[in-house]
């Protein structure tokens, strides 16, 4: 897992709880490097540990942690790479994750571990996305998806469910709200 995820997580923790909290988190989480540079690459197990540790410390379930992180990451991406979000909408953006977003990521970071989405469009107001990833962090994706819809001001209903035990496959349905 790319370092940017870790530094992002650090940022989120620091922003929400201050550095002391973060410091303590780093001290108390086991099997971690402790120092992360955004251009580095670290084992995703460290992220799992950090999330678990943070979840313990805050009492938030790890799924919620990931969802919150996803929302934080969206903001980070928006600030860092605003061009991707121009002239788009929720469906357009989400349907282009594989081809437009992730391909650009791979250009910079050829060894990035990214989830794969099986996307199906049903007209202009419904789409389904199957999440596939060995990191099993579909809640992170949920957070990103929610933030996307918020950003584009699209009133949508988002359904999210696991498709297997370990969460490496998950199902998302994004439906436009009918008012």
């Amino acid at each position: 897992m790319k370092g940017i995820v870790f530094t992002g997580f650090m940022e989120m923790v620091e922003q929400n709880h201050g550095y002391d909290f973060l410091d303590d988190l780093l001290l108390t989480t086991k099997d971690i490097t402790g120092s992360y540079t955004s251009v580095g690459t670290y084992s995703h197990v460290e992220m799992v540990n950090l999330v678990v540790s943070y979840s313990k410390k805050t009492g938030l379930p790890p799924e919620n942690v990931l969802e919150k992180f996803g929302e934080f990451l969206f903001q980070m991406f928006l600030n860092g790479y605003p061009s991707f979000f121009e002239e788009s909408n929720t469906f357009k953006f989400l349907s282009g994750i594989n081809d437009h977003i992730h391909t650009e990521v791979l250009k910079l970071y050829p060894d990035a571990e990214l989830p794969h989405f099986e996307i199906e469009m049903f007209g202009n107001d419904r789409m389904t996305m199957n999440y596939l990833s060995d990191r099993s962090m579909s809640h992170l994706a949920l957070g990103l998806i929610k933030s996307t819809a918020d950003y584009f001001n699209d009133q949508v209903d988002i359904e999210h469910k696991m498709l297997n035990e370990n969460g490496s496959r998950a199902f998302f349905e994004i439906k436009k709200k009918h008012v």
Partner: protein
């Protein structure tokens, strides 16, 4: 220190620691980042270097390829320019973007003049729309390749035909990018094709116009094409004929086999012409002459045959009519011939009688004047016989089976004797007859004297007929080239015009019909007779001045039908000596001359005594014995010869008629009899009969005179015999000795004439008996009659067919 300060201090220290850890973490992260950066930089540098190297390589490669491409392009450019074909490119708007130099030499437009112009500008005005549409359609269909023949206007306004191949290039969206074309000048090809097409049209027109009746069939005999004239001829339309089997549809069944065999010829590649019947649609018959030939495809395989059918129905019927007419003519000729043949018998019989009687008369005692008259009579009657024979044989001449009797005879003697006939005629008309001959008196001619006589008589007869005053000259000249005798008959008569001369030898052509002096056969026969002898005849004449006829006879002729007169061509092997016992001086010289003529040695004795004397000196092969001698009868000598067993043959030459009774016993002593007067051949014949072993010829001599004479006599005998037998029978039955005598009296002459000597003598004896007896001895008479009948049958069966 208070707690607050302590806590504040501990907090500060803790804060410092936190800060310290933060800084530491940050430092670590920074170092890591820097390391990563370095690594990345190194990687980048290496990549760069790699890239630079690659680039350089590519550049060089590119340069090389560029150069190669350049030279290839130049090569192509040169090739294209050198091409005799025009190569060009057009853009999607149809404008020329490139065109090679070939265009200059072919159309006189240079590339520069054409680039930027629209391609339709070069086409002939009338073709622009059609061609433009074609290519637009090609483009719409996205057809990459196309070939079209287009007419182009050269600068000099001449039309040049091009065969143009165009390749269109389309981009990914299916839009035309450009067109590349190669155009070849095919004007010659187009012209040639046009000429061929025109020629085909011309010949098609010719063939269809000609009345040739052309039919084409395939290898199975089924009709592939029927030309209009053929259809007209057979009454079917082409549609009715196509696909049908020619033989089954058009031929009569019985002719089919002929067609089959001809078909086989055709399949072998032979041409042929034949006649056959064709069935018209309405069932009628059409005769055609078919000229057929096989015809082959481009590979040379026989794919069928073509026949030209010429309607010859007309000709066929004409031919049939001609055949019928011919047959009729032939029949007419046949009946004419038969008529002549029949006629000949009717005429010959009395003729033969005349000759026979003259002959017999000649053997009686005549005084010199009578003899002279008789000679002329005999000669003329012979000639008459010959004439009749020849005229009646005209039929045979026409047929071409004219018999020739070749013998040697004295030329001048024949000549003069024949011409003597005209003495009277000429005297009557007070003309001059001039007879000349270049030949010596001993000259012999080997030919058919009858035919020659006929020719001579005819020519001199004509000359005399048509000459009223002046002369007729007849001459014999010797010719060296070719060797022969030329007979020239010249008259000072009326002459013949040039026009008439050409027809003069035509049968029945007569110059002067009003006078009608002849039957018109004369010259025609003469010419044919000349042909038979292998002689040339030539007439020259001038109206009012006279005529000259020339005939050339070969000195000797050989004919398959030569019936040689054996008796005049006898030759004796050795020199024979003959004792002539004769007291009459005239007879002496006559016989001695004959003997000399025949190459026989002779000794003369005038009486018995001299004869006996002579016989003591030598042995004679033959004794010619006159019966009445001064000192006795010839019989005495004969008896003497027999007693003395002298081996000579004895021939009695007697003046007495056979009717006188010669004692039988005397007959034993002599070998043969010749009665005076005799013709030389009679004597010769007898001599030959007596001395056959000495003859050069192996054939035994037939006891007869010249064949024709004998034939005539036999003819006469056969005709007279039946009546005679009848009358004799009557006499026997009636016991009429007078009648018997009368008939018996006729017999010996007749028998003599046909050389039945012995029979004749017996008849004479019987005649004497009947004369002396008062009553008839039937037995002997009946025997005689039977013998007569037998003879009659014998002669009839040996008679050659006429």
């Amino acid at each position: 220190m208070d707690l607050g300060r302590f806590l504040r201090l501990r907090k500060s220290m803790s804060d410092v620691n936190v800060l310290y850890r933060r800084i530491e973490r940050e430092r670590k992260a920074r170092i890591e980042a820097e390391q990563l950066l370095e690594q990345k930089s190194r990687e980048l540098f290496i990549s760069n270097e790699e890239l630079k190297r690659s680039n350089k390589e590519l550049e060089q490669k590119s340069k090389r390829l560029s150069k190669a491409l350049e030279s290839i392009e130049m090569e192509y450019e040169r090739m294209i320019q050198d091409l005799r074909e025009i190569v060009f490119k057009i853009n999607p708007d149809g404008l020329f973007t490139y065109i090679n130099n070939a265009t200059t030499s072919i159309t006189d437009f240079s590339p520069n003049e054409l680039i930027g112009r629209h391609f339709t500008e070069l086409l002939t005005p009338e073709s622009r729309e059609e061609i433009s549409d074609f290519y637009l359609d090609q483009i719409k269909q996205k057809e990459v390749h196309s070939y079209l023949q287009i007419p182009v206007l050269a600068k000099n306004k001449k039309v040049i035909w091009f065969g143009q191949s165009v390749t269109f290039t389309f981009n990914a969206d299916g839009e035309l990018i450009e067109g590349i074309a190669v155009a070849r000048d095919i004007t010659d090809v187009v012209k040639a094709r046009q000429a061929i097409s025109d020629s085909e049209e011309k010949y098609r027109g010719l063939i269809e116009g000609m009345e040739l009746g052309i039919l084409e069939v395939d290898n199975n005999g089924n009709i592939v094409k029927a030309y209009p004239w053929f259809c007209d001829m057979v009454g079917y339309s082409e549609d009715e004929l196509l696909g049908k089997n020619a033989s089954n549809t058009l031929l009569f069944p019985e002719d089919a086999s002929m067609m089959k065999s001809n078909d086989l010829e055709r399949k072998k590649g032979q041409t042929g012409v034949y006649e056959i019947r064709i069935r018209h649609k309405n069932g009628g018959i059409i005769w055609v002459a078919i000229s057929a030939a096989p015809y082959t495809n481009a590979k040379g395989e026989i794919v069928g045959s073509i026949g030209v059918h010429l309607d010859i129905t007309e000709q066929k019927s004409l031919v049939k009519k001609l055949e019928t007419a011919n047959a009729e003519t032939q029949r007419a000729r046949e009946s004419e011939h038969n008529f002549f043949m029949n006629l000949s018998h009717e005429i010959r019989t009395p003729m033969n009688a005349v000759i026979g009687m003259s002959h017999l008369l000649s053997k009686t005692d005549l005084d010199p004047l009578q003899k002279s008259y008789l000679d002329d009579l005999m000669f003329s009657s012979n000639v008459l016989r010959g004439l009749i024979s020849n005229i009646l044989d005209f039929s045979r001449l026409e047929r071409g089976d004219y018999p020739i009797q070749v013998k040697k005879f004295n030329l001048n003697r024949w000549f003069n004797e024949t011409l003597s006939m005209f003495k009277y005629l000429i005297d009557e008309k007070s003309l001059n007859l001039i007879v000349t001959s270049e030949f010596p008196d001993w000259a012999m001619l080997e030919s058919d004297s009858n035919i020659l006589t006929q020719i001579l008589l005819n020519l001199v007869g004509n000359a005399t007929k048509y000459t009223e005053e002046g002369s007729v000259s007849v001459s014999l000249k010797a010719m060296s080239k070719p060797k022969g005798v030329q007979l020239i008959v010249t008259d000072t008569g009326v002459g013949i015009s040039r026009k008439q001369i050409s027809k003069i030898f035509d049968r029945f052509y007569q110059i002067d019909n009003s006078n009608s002096k002849g039957y018109g056969l004369g010259l025609s026969i003469t010419k044919q007779l000349c042909d038979v002898l292998g002689s040339d005849i030539d007439i020259s004449s001038e109206l009012g001045h006279g005529t000259q006829v020339k005939v050339v006879f070969p000195l000797s002729i050989h004919s398959e039908k030569v019936v040689s007169d054996e008796f005049n061509s006898i030759e004796f092997k050795a020199e024979l000596n003959v004792l002539l016992v004769e007291d009459n001086p005239m007879n002496q010289s006559y016989i001695l001359a004959l003997l000399a003529d025949w190459g026989l040695k002779s000794v003369l004795a005038e009486n018995l005594k001299e004869a006996q004397l002579a016989m003591t000196k030598e042995v004679f092969d033959l004794i010619l014995l006159d019966m009445q001698l001064p000192d006795g009868s010839g019989i005495e000598l004969a008896q003497y010869v027999r007693e003395k067993k002298i081996s000579s043959a004895i021939v009695a030459v007697t003046a007495t008629s056979i009717n006188e009774s010669i004692n039988r016993e005397y007959l034993d002593c002599i070998d043969g009899i010749v009665s005076k007067p005799f013709v030389p051949s009679e004597l010769l014949n007898e001599i030959g009969k007596q001395l056959p072993q000495l003859l050069k010829h192996d054939d035994s001599i037939k006891p007869s005179e010249d064949h024709e004479f004998v034939a005539m006599m036999v003819e006469t005998f056969i005709q007279e015999c039946p009546k005679l037998i009848d009358d004799l029978l009557k006499a026997v039955n009636a016991g009429d000795s007078k009648l018997a005598l009368r008939e018996l009296h006729k017999l010996p002459n007749m028998l003599h004439l046909i050389n039945r000597w012995e029979f004749a003598i017996r008849v004479k004896e019987l005649e004497s008996k009947v004369l002396n007896q008062t009553e008839l001895n039937n037995g002997e008479l009946v025997n005689l009659i039977e013998e007569l009948e037998a003879l009659f049958v014998e002669l009839k069966s040996h008679k050659p067919n006429d």
